[in-house]
Symmetry: C2
C-alpha cells in the first residue's frame, strides 16, 4: 500500500496545519484518526447523511470534526467512551454504517506506532518525527473495517422537550429533568454553592 | 450597550462564516454561545491556561471550539449535560473560573430570542434574520456571569492507565475497565454482534 499523501481535501501538510490550529498540536492520535475517518468515508455511499460515533474521547473526535460535517455541538458526533480507538460513520436514518478501528495485530509491524498505541514507553522517549513518518507510511494498513448497525436509540433526533424555569437557580432547563434542573439536583461540577449575580 | 461587532479575532461576518463551515449552518445557539464565550474569556486573567465546561451538548460546545483552544478531542472541553445554556472557563490548576449563562430574566426584552430560548413557538415560525439581529443587538446584555470553583475531580489530567488487549474483540483497551473491554461488556451501541474482519 502506498504512503498516504492526502486526507479528504487536504495534503499531508494542510491537514497537519489544521490539526495544529484546532487541536493545539500535531497529535499522533488525530493524524491516525484522520486516516481512519477518511477510510470510513470512502466506504459510505456518497449520498448518505451520516452521523459519527467515537468510542474514545481521546483525539479521534477532533479528526471527525476536521474531516466530516459532524461536531459535538451539532449533535452529529457522539462520544460513547468504550475505551477503544474506533470510529463509526452510520446512516442517520437506517443506522447502517462502517466501523473502523486501529488493529493491534497490524500495528505490530510498526514499532513506534505500537509503542504509542499500547503505551509501551513513556511519552518523553517517543520519537515524534519517526512516529508521524510511520503513520503516513502505514496508513489504512494498520486499520480494520467492519459493517455495523447502530441501535435505534442512537438514531432518534435529540430533543430537549419543553423548557421551563428552574425554581431554584432561575435558569432555563428541560422540564423532563424534574422539579428543578440537574444542576440544582446536585449534579453540578462546582465546589462552592453558586450565588446568582448580574 | 452597543451591538456586538466582533468576537475574538473575527468580525460578525467572519464568525458567521466559520460557524457555517464548522457547525453546518448559522445556528442561533452558536452565535449566542460565541458572545457568551467571548464574555467569559474577557473575564479570565490573560496568562491562565483554562479548560471549558459546557452544561449542554447543544450548540454551545461548537462556540467553545471555535473561539478557544479547547476541543472535545484534546480534552480541554468537557460537556456535562445539566440542560442549562451555560459555559464555564476555569484555571486548569486551581479550578477557579467564570461561568456565563443566558439569563431568562434579561431575555424577556427580546421577543425573538425569548421565543427561541424557551421554545415558545415552533422552529418553522421563527424569523431567523430577526433572531440573529436581536442577538447581535442584545449581546452580553442577555448574559450573566458568576465566579465558580470547579471540583478537584475535574482538574486531574485524564489518563487511560495501562493498555491491554481485550480477550474477546482483540482490540486495545484500558485494563482498568475490567477483564474485557466496555464494548464486550455490553455497552456497545451496535445492534448486531460485530464480527472481526480484515
Amino acid at each position: 500500500m502506498p504512503p498516504v499523501e492526502r486526507l479528504g481535501a487536504y495534503t499531508r501538510e494542510e491537514f497537519i496545519n489544521r490539526v495544529v490550529a484546532f487541536h493545539g498540536f500535531a497529535a499522533p492520535g488525530v493524524i491516525i484518526g484522520g486516516i481512519m475517518v477518511d477510510l470510513a468515508i470512502q466506504q459510505m455511499p456518497r449520498s448518505v447523511l451520516y452521523d459519527a460515533i467515537c468510542e474514545t474521547p481521546f483525539c479521534l473526535p477532533d479528526a471527525v470534526q476536521l474531516l466530516t460535517p459532524c461536531t459535538t455541538g451539532n449533535g452529529w458526533l457522539k462520544v460513547i467512551n468504550l475505551g477503544r480507538f474506533a470510529v463509526t460513520l452510520y446512516d442517520k436514518h437506517t443506522g447502517k454504517g462502517i466501523r473502523v478501528y486501529l488493529d493491534p495485530g497490524k500495528v505490530q509491524d510498526w514499532d513506534e506506532i505500537q509503542a504509542w498505541f499500547l503505551k509501551l514507553k513513556p511519552k518523553t522517549s517517543q520519537d515524534a518525527g519517526r512516529l508521524q513518518g510511520q503513520i503516513w507510511e502505514a496508513g489504512p494498513g494498520i486499520c480494520a473495517s467492519q459493517p455495523v448497525k447502530v441501535q435505534p436509540l442512537y438514531l432518534a433526533p435529540r430533543s430537549k422537550g419543553p423548557i421551563g424555569i428552574c425554581s431554584r437557580c432561575r435558569e432555563a432547563y428541560p422540564v423532563k429533568d424534574g422539579d428543578v434542573c440537574l444542576g440544582c439536583q446536585g449534579k453540578s461540577p462546582y465546589a462552592e454553592p453558586v450565588t446568582r449575580q448580574a
